[in-house]
């Protein structure tokens, strides 16, 4: 029997192939490097979608495979964005300030420059002092490190406290929501040092780069595709071997895994913190394409969306998460972007901008009830895979256990 990684998970090769082709296709159609069919803003939408796919893969690892329904991973995504945003904003502002001051007769002192940058950045929240957390904002290396370190440490701390006291199921989900809410409320305050509800803006401008947005947007698109490819490969590697066996075991019956001698809490912690770091990276690629990151992005609802994407795509299979993220976010940008024509019923006009969320909610309920395998179920239809006959019983006693209807042979 062939035990090589790709032979065991052929879907990984298919996925990487599709991703590569799509990247090539978009490049050829782009304004900067191709025939210019796709607008720069659409390239950005596509690049952002790839980042959402990456965090969806992380969500599938933590929920679909380890059974931890985290409703807080978007907070880690946002934090990743903030960490890279601090450097982008600082450097960009420094450039502008230094060039405007260089005309002065007397060369400005470093203190004057620093004050001027502080004034520029924190003027909106009525301050000019650099808060302590901006200490390393001038160092790209350190801020890049923080992109993974801050989500990792926060998730590690949270997970250590929660898993150690054996909080599971709904209670854990509620705790993650509480953490997310607390974080976003904190960031909304001007005193948080991250410009309160203004957030960090102008992130699309890369300091020291002359190239226009059409080129920069392609760089980010490529980087996002690369990150998604690597993230997918990593996730597939993690779930393919014995580690995957153990975390799926934890999802379906964690007590049984304990009796086999595995320290369930350590495994949960590794998965929770590891996926938080992936989320941080995804966020750090997303927000420079969005141009702005603010506390509203971290709001609890965002993390719930994430779970909805994965559910609609089909949890417990990585490509399902990706399909869900692409499908929902592209459809969402169609409906909320004002492109969808309103429907006039005579007595009432359905405005999709308002009704889209309702529709998403309804489809979530319908999918959970009638098509628990989500979009991934279509792939099974095509591959003609059956599910084990368990006479209606789920595959394990735990709250996060795979339901019989979700499983495939």
């Amino acid at each position: 029997m062939n035990r090589s990684f790709f032979a065991q998970s052929p879907s990984v090769l298919v996925f990487l192939g599709c991703l590569g082709l799509a990247t090539l296709f978009v490049t050829v159609l782009s304004e900067a490097f191709g025939i210019g069919v796709l607008s720069t803003s659409f390239i950005k939408t596509l690049g952002k979608t790839l980042c959402l796919c990456l965090i969806a893969v992380a969500m599938d690892l933590v929920w679909g495979y380890a059974g931890i329904l985290s409703l807080g991973h978007f907070a880690f995504f946002g934090l990743g964005g903030y960490m890279i945003g601090m450097w982008l904003m600082y450097e960009r502002t420094r450039e502008i300030v230094e060039s405007s001051m260089s005309d002065a007769v007397i060369p400005p002192t470093p203190q004057e420059i620093s004050d001027a940058i502080g004034n520029q950045i924190f003027g909106v929240v009525g301050s000019s002092e650099f808060p302590l957390i901006w200490t390393f904002a001038d160092s790209l290396t350190i801020q890049l490190f923080l992109v993974v370190a801050i989500p990792g440490v926060l998730a590690g701390l949270f997970g250590w406290l929660a898993f150690r006291s054996r909080v599971t199921g709904v209670y854990l989900s509620i705790l993650t929501q509480a953490m997310t809410l607390a974080l976003s409320l904190y960031l909304f305050q001007n005193e948080s040092g991250l410009r309160g509800n203004n957030g960090l803006s102008g992130l699309q401008n890369l300091p020291g780069v002359e190239a226009g947005q059409d080129v920069v947007s392609m760089w980010f698109f490529w980087a996002s595709a690369l990150a998604l490819g690597l993230g997918y490969l990593l996730a597939a590697r993690v779930i393919s071997g014995k580690f995957g066996s153990v975390i799926r075991g934890i999802r379906d019956n964690e007590q049984r895994v304990r009796f086999l001698g595995y320290a369930v809490e350590s495994y949960k912690l590794v998965i929770f913190a590891g996926t938080a770091m992936i989320a941080g990276i995804a966020g750090a690629l997303y927000y420079p394409q969005a141009g702005i990151v603010n506390p509203a992005e971290i709001a609890p609802i965002a993390s719930i969306y994430l779970a909805v994407w994965v559910a609609i795509g089909g949890r417990g299979r990585l490509y399902g998460a990706v399909l869900g993220a692409i499908f929902v976010s592209l459809v969402s940008s169609y409906f909320t972007g004002g492109q969808a024509p309103d429907i006039n019923l005579g007595f009432y006009t359905i405005k999709w901008v308002d009704w889209w969320l309702v529709m998403l909610g309804i489809s979530f309920v319908l999918v959970t009830l009638f098509a628990p395998k989500g979009l991934g179920g279509l792939v099974d239809l095509w591959e003609d895979r059956r599910r084990p006959d368990r006479h209606g019983a789920d595959l394990g006693p735990d709250a996060g256990a795979l339901r019989e209807k979700e499983a495939v042979e």
């Binding site: 580690f243 153990v246 049984r256 304990r258 001698g261 320290a263 595959l395 394990g396 019989e404 042979e409």
Partner: protein, 246 residues
């Protein structure tokens, strides 16, 4: 005779109900022991206490040559120390293949890093194949455990138990739902296993117990009612009154 496990004066209550009442129990390193008793006697709860699932209100549970207390250890640590358990209701990982189930149970390092970089060695695969032969699931190796019949799941769980290579096997009603031939096979496996390790079998079926041919402990209302050979305990008047006479 040295003891592998010594349980002394253990009690546990659930909401005021004493499920285990001042129970004491000993087993040697290579001994087969059967535990019988009416429904609700506390047999499963007794296993829960040894494996760390339930913490007793009082009493001691002492393990091994080093006389460590199991009470301060987590379930995973107890399992790593060498206590393996088969549940009353077969619990295997239904979403995973028979092979994956066995590989997971195989006694290898259990830490996340070691597991992440684990590649099944030739010896491991050979052991899995050997176990699969022993439990009659060789042909099912790559099928999902969820598709197996009830009896096959029982077998798989027994196989996982053997794969763990524990010093003490706790087996809760292994023969439930098995055909006479399968019971015979189970008996052989357990007797064989008890040559090199301690095995505790909970069973209701007297015929099964008789074939094991070992010492029997009778539990009733959470404490030991009688202990000795099967003939000895079945002739005990108390045992006849509470268990056999019903």
């Amino acid at each position: 005779m040295t003891t592998l496990l010594e349980v002394s004066g253990v009690s546990v209550s659930f909401d005021g109900f004493r499920a285990i009442n001042n129970l004491s129990f000993q087993i040697g390193p290579a001994e087969l022991r059967a535990i019988i008793g009416p429904n609700g006697a506390g047999k499963t709860t007794f296993m829960d206490i040894i494996t760390g699932k339930t913490r007793p209100d009082e009493g001691r549970v002492i393990w091994g040559d080093l006389s460590r207390s199991l009470l301060s250890m987590s379930e995973a640590q107890i399992a790593q120390a060498g206590v393996g358990r088969k549940f009353q209701k077969p619990t295997v990982f239904e979403d995973q293949s028979v092979e994956e189930n066995l590989l997971m149970a195989l006694s290898n390092p259990r830490g996340p890093l070691a597991v992440l970089f684990y590649k099944p060695a030739k010896a491991d695969l050979a052991r899995v194949a050997e176990l699969a032969d022993e439990i009659g699931l060789r042909a099912q190796l790559f099928r999902k455990a969820g598709e197996l019949s009830h009896g096959q799941k029982q077998w798989l769980e027994i196989g996982m138990l053997l794969a763990q290579d524990p010093k003490l096997l706790l087996v809760d009603e292994p023969a439930a739902g098995m055909t006479p031939e399968e019971r015979e096979h189970t008996t052989q496996l357990l007797v064989e296993a008890a040559k090199t390790r301690a095995v505790v079998v909970v069973e209701h079926d007297m015929e099964f117990i008789r074939r094991l041919g070992c010492r029997v402990t009778v539990l009733h209302e959470g404490s030991v009612l009688a202990e000795g050979s099967l003939d000895h305990v079945t002739s005990n008047q108390d045992v006849i009154d509470v268990y056999l006479g019903r």
